[in-house]
């Protein structure tokens, strides 16, 4: 956004964004196209696209002037400008699929995969018509027939919450109860694994693949990981693996994707293409863009054609609280007073919380459980299983205070599961039983050595 002063100058000269202008400043004259002002930086600086395609910033002071220019810009510059301003050729938005290919549904929710640069803010934001992106991946037309294309909302994933999971679960169930072979959900990566977990619990008895994919590099970059992730997701969506699964790069190469169980996957890096890793479990499969699919983990549900029903419920008053040296347990009491009904405590190591220290968590947790508020403990180590017995302090937490040991569940998954369970029952014994029962692959009975740092 330009400053009010500049906006006034522009308005009085009847100049709008994209217009060709002359800027007179410090005795010099610059000519080019007026570009939108990124939100960051000096709002008194005009951003000018020169005829060589470069942008520069010219500060407007007293004595500067902005005028319309009568000249015409070179064709290439015009095309660049149109692209920057998000004007997409209509021809690029038409895509038609081969009806002979297996039908699938695609649900676009936003995020980097459906993003391109937003020159108004100067950052990347979700504004791309998903069809524009499909146009860049002609390989898809040979794999699937995207019959139904829906866009229930467009959000960066950090802005999503449980109401979005519920909407998605219902939409997915609807799509799967038609003749679709599977569903692909495009999603922002930051909370992609939360959604994957939520859909895993909300779509019990799933019988077709639900593939969630995203990208770490926006799809308007020639090197975007979105292309391969989407091609592999299409293969996965028509495969026999009837699971909620995340499909993202397996390593830094554009080689193959990993298909990872929705309850056993986590974003482990801020930027790398291979940020999503299976945790405490092997990936379900490796998928190559060629269509080759190699099963890694044999324990998956097989495809079948029956109808499913979404169990899309969630109790929002659940919180994750982290225990660390010097942490304040009374934060739990504060949240209780705010109406919170369940907690996931991300504990230390085997599942410890400060016990004999000045700020012991034990008595507060004991009281919460007595008040009917479940406390599930997971570990900050991310990898490994909680143990309720080995140390005296563990026994005090799990046997005396009655916290629920979260087994080998990820903190994020335990949070989603507890919210889902609390929406179904208030009975503490039933909550405990469900939290300790494997519902959607979130608890594994045995951990193979290869599952560490896969």
């Amino acid at each position: 956004m330009y400053s009010l002063g500049i906006q006034k100058l522009l308005d009085s000269a009847e100049i709008s964004i994209g217009g060709r202008i002359l800027v007179k400043a410090k005795g010099k004259v610059y000519e080019g196209l007026l570009m939108p002002r990124p939100d960051i930086g000096d709002s008194n600086c005009i951003v000018l696209k020169l005829d060589n395609g470069y942008n520069i910033g010219i500060r407007i002071d007293r004595g500067s002037a902005i005028e319309k220019s009568g000249h015409k810009e070179p064709k290439t510059v015009k095309e660049e400008e149109e692209f920057e301003l998000g004007k997409i050729k209509k021809s690029l938005l038409k895509v038609s699929f081969d009806p002979e290919k297996p039908p699938i549904a695609m649900i676009s929710t936003g995020g980097t995969v459906a993003s391109r640069v937003d020159y108004q803010t100067g950052g990347v934001s979700a504004m791309m018509d998903p069809k524009e992106f499909l146009h860049n991946v002609p390989e898809l037309f040979n794999i699937v027939n995207i019959k139904n294309f829906s866009k229930p909302f467009t959000k960066m994933s950090e802005d999503m919450d449980s109401s979005d999971w519920i909407a998605l679960a219902k939409l997915v169930a609807k799509e799967l109860n038609s003749d679709n072979k599977g569903v692909i959900i495009t999603h922002g990566t930051d909370t992609l694994h939360y959604t994957a977990a939520a859909l895993s619990f909300m779509l019990p008895n799933l019988l077709k693949p639900v593939i969630i994919m995203g990208s770490q590099k926006s799809s308007d970059r020639p090197s975007s990981d979105a292309v391969m992730n989407l091609i592999c997701s299409s293969h996965a969506a028509v495969s026999d693996i009837a699971e909620v699964a995340v499909c993202m790069h397996g390593n830094m190469n554009d080689d193959y994707c990993l298909l990872m169980r929705g309850t056993k996957v986590r974003k482990m890096h801020t930027v790398r293409r291979d940020a999503f890793r299976p945790i405490n479990d092997l990936p379900l499969a490796k998928v190559w863009p060629s269509g080759k699919l190699e099963i890694v983990n044999k324990s998956y549900r097989k495809r079948s054609d029956q109808k499913i029903k979404a169990d899309a419920v969630f109790e929002e008053k659940v919180a994750i609280v982290k225990a660390y040296p010097g942490s304040e347990p009374s934060i739990l009491e504060y949240l209780q007073a705010k109406g919170y009904r369940g907690f996931v405590v991300e504990g230390l190591g085997l599942g410890h919380v400060p016990t004999d220290s000045r700020k012991s968590w034990i008595e507060i947790i004991k009281k919460l459980v007595k008040d009917g508020i479940p406390v599930v403990v997971t570990s900050q180590t991310i990898y490994g299983r909680i143990n309720p017995n080995t140390y005296t302090n563990l026994r005090r937490l799990y046997h005396y205070a009655r916290a629920i040991p979260g087994e080998d569940m990820l903190t994020e998954v335990a949070y989603v599961k507890l919210g889902h369970v609390l929406a179904k029952t208030k009975d503490m014994d039933e909550i405990r039983r469900l939290m300790l029962t494997n519902m959607a692959g979130e608890i594994t009975p045995r951990t193979v050595p290869d599952a560490f740092l896969y």
Binding site: I40, G57, D118, G122, R221, P222
Partner: protein, 488 residues
């Protein structure tokens, strides 16, 4: 062949000069900015593909490129200290290197450019694999500048700061292998307008620009660090872009050959195509590919616009030393030849800084010849930082050892971690009584000459020859004057 009348032929030529900045780190990350020669199996290798995005290129370009990129895999070799997740196109670029930006602004200033109030980095689409991300980052740091040649003014269209591309290692069938060491090294591109109308003017303009670049002391001087491209056309011909003209002296020849080539086509009534051509060592050129349309540029949204502050401009001015060899020779009292050598070897700034503490002619000799001698002995002369040399020279306190002694001390300075002061003090110093003996002896044996001429200077020369740097000049002179007094 008779001389060509370039004016009559309507010859137009513009230069495009690329120079690597000699900053320690890369443009957008903290990797070491240097080339790596080794290649072994332990190095990390990454396979990637690139794809253009509909709408970013014109429709025809897109179609052609989609065809060419089909099935193409690029392999990138990553080096331990010269590439990180940024070069691997995983991590987002860091803020632009202040040292590189400052050097680029300085160059823009030296070329009389206007500097924008805000610098906007752009992505220039490059999908031949040489840029792992599919684009090169580049920003205009100066425009509308000029340099003057004997044949008239040559306008500088723009000066841009950009990242160098990855270097091709090998092409194996459908797989191109690139090294990531060069990717992201800071590069300054200088483009002139097509104001050049004769081959000699082109040579002079390139020489002038090259000289100014070297003067900053912030550009690499090794072979290939400055790359010169020429844009040449004649009336009725077409613009050809000639890449990789290796030396200044070759420029006139390349232009002459290109003008002849275009002229022959025009005279034969044939069309001259817009080409990209490669300069060959004999001055002729060969066809590389048709001249592509202008590369597409889009804002680099991973970097915020950089406001050019007063401090940055002052800094660029302060370090700006607009000296020519003549000025340097006169100011520092060194021979013109030495001054030229210093500027050509890109050592002007270092030279002037060291000369503050020591005799400029000796500093000049050390920089232009002693260091080379040491380098040939495989001594790590890069250990001789400006700081260490300065300490050493000020510790010498004017004493001028003989060449052998100086070389010994410089070797110690480079090969050991001993304090500079300690090394300087290892210079052998004659006791005053010994100096006096030498002075007396020389006065005695040259009595006749001394009576006739300005005595002190003659004796000084003779004594210094004998003491071989084991005494400070001012002390010797003092003793000489005392002794002359005694004899007269």
């Amino acid at each position: 062949m008779e001389d060509l009348d370039y004016k009559k032929l309507g010859m137009k030529c513009g230069l495009e000069i690329h120079v690597q900045l000699s900053t320690k780190n890369k443009l957008f990350c903290s990797c070491l900015s240097r080339l790596v020669k080794e290649d072994n199996d332990r190095l990390l290798r990454i396979q990637r593909r690139l794809r253009t995005v509909a709408g970013e290129l014109g429709e025809i370009d897109t179609a052609a490129i989609h065809e060419s990129e089909k099935g193409k895999t690029f392999e990138y070799v990553s080096y331990p200290e010269e590439s990180c997740l940024v070069e691997l196109d995983e991590e987002i670029i860091h803020d632009v290197s202040p040292a590189a930006l400052s050097a680029a602004l300085q160059i823009a200033r030296l070329l009389n450019c206007e500097i924008p109030d805000e610098i906007h980095f752009m992505r220039k689409l490059v999908i031949d694999g040489s840029n792992i991300s599919g684009f090169q980052r580049t920003a205009i740091v100066g425009m509308n500048g000029f340099i003057d040649t004997d044949f008239g003014r040559v306008r500088i269209a723009n000066v841009s700061l950009e990242e160098d591309s990855a270097q091709i290692v090998s092409r194996l069938g459908n797989k191109d292998v690139y090294g990531l060491d060069r990717l992201g090294m800071p590069l300054v591109e200088i483009g002139t307008e097509a104001d050049i109308h004769s081959p000699e003017q082109a040579r002079q303009a390139a020489e002038k620009i090259g000289g100014l670049l070297k003067l900053t002391g912030k550009v690499h001087s090794h072979l290939g660090a400055i790359r010169q491209d020429l844009n040449v056309s004649i009336s009725g011909g077409a613009r050809s872009e000639i890449k990789g003209v290796q030396s200044l002296s070759l420029i006139p020849k390349v232009i002459e050959e290109e003008v002849k080539r275009q002229l022959a086509l025009v005279l034969a009534g044939k069309n001259v195509h817009k080409d990209v051509r490669r300069a060959l060592p004999d001055g002729s050129t060969e066809f590389l590919r048709p001249l592509p349309g202008a590369a597409r540029l889009y804002p680099e949204t991973d970097h915020v616009p950089v406001a050019v502050t007063e401090e940055m401009l002052t800094e660029a001015k302060k370090t700006m030393k607009k000296a020519t060899a003549e000025e340097l020779s006169e100011r520092c009292k060194i021979s013109l030849e030495l001054a030229r050598q210093i500027i050509n070897e890109n050592k002007a700034v270092l030279f002037e800084s060291l000369s503050e503490n020591y005799d400029p002619s000796i500093v000049a000799n050390i920089l232009t010849s002693y260091l080379k001698e040491m380098k040939s002995e495989k001594i790590a002369v890069e250990k001789l930082t400006e700081e260490r040399l300065k300490e050493f020279f000020s510790a010498l306190n004017g004493r001028q050892p003989a060449k052998e002694t100086m070389l010994r001390m410089l070797r110690e300075l480079a090969m050991t971690a001993l304090p500079a002061e300690k090394i300087a003090s290892s210079i052998e110093t004659l006791p005053d009584s010994d100096i006096r003996k030498i002075v007396e002896k020389i006065i005695k044996s040259n009595k006749d000459a001394i009576e006739k001429y300005n005595a002190a200077n003659i004796i000084m020369g003779l004594v210094m020859k004998e003491v071989k740097g084991k005494a400070q000049g001012n002390k010797v002179m003092k003793i000489i004057q005392e002794e002359i007094k005694k004899t007269s």
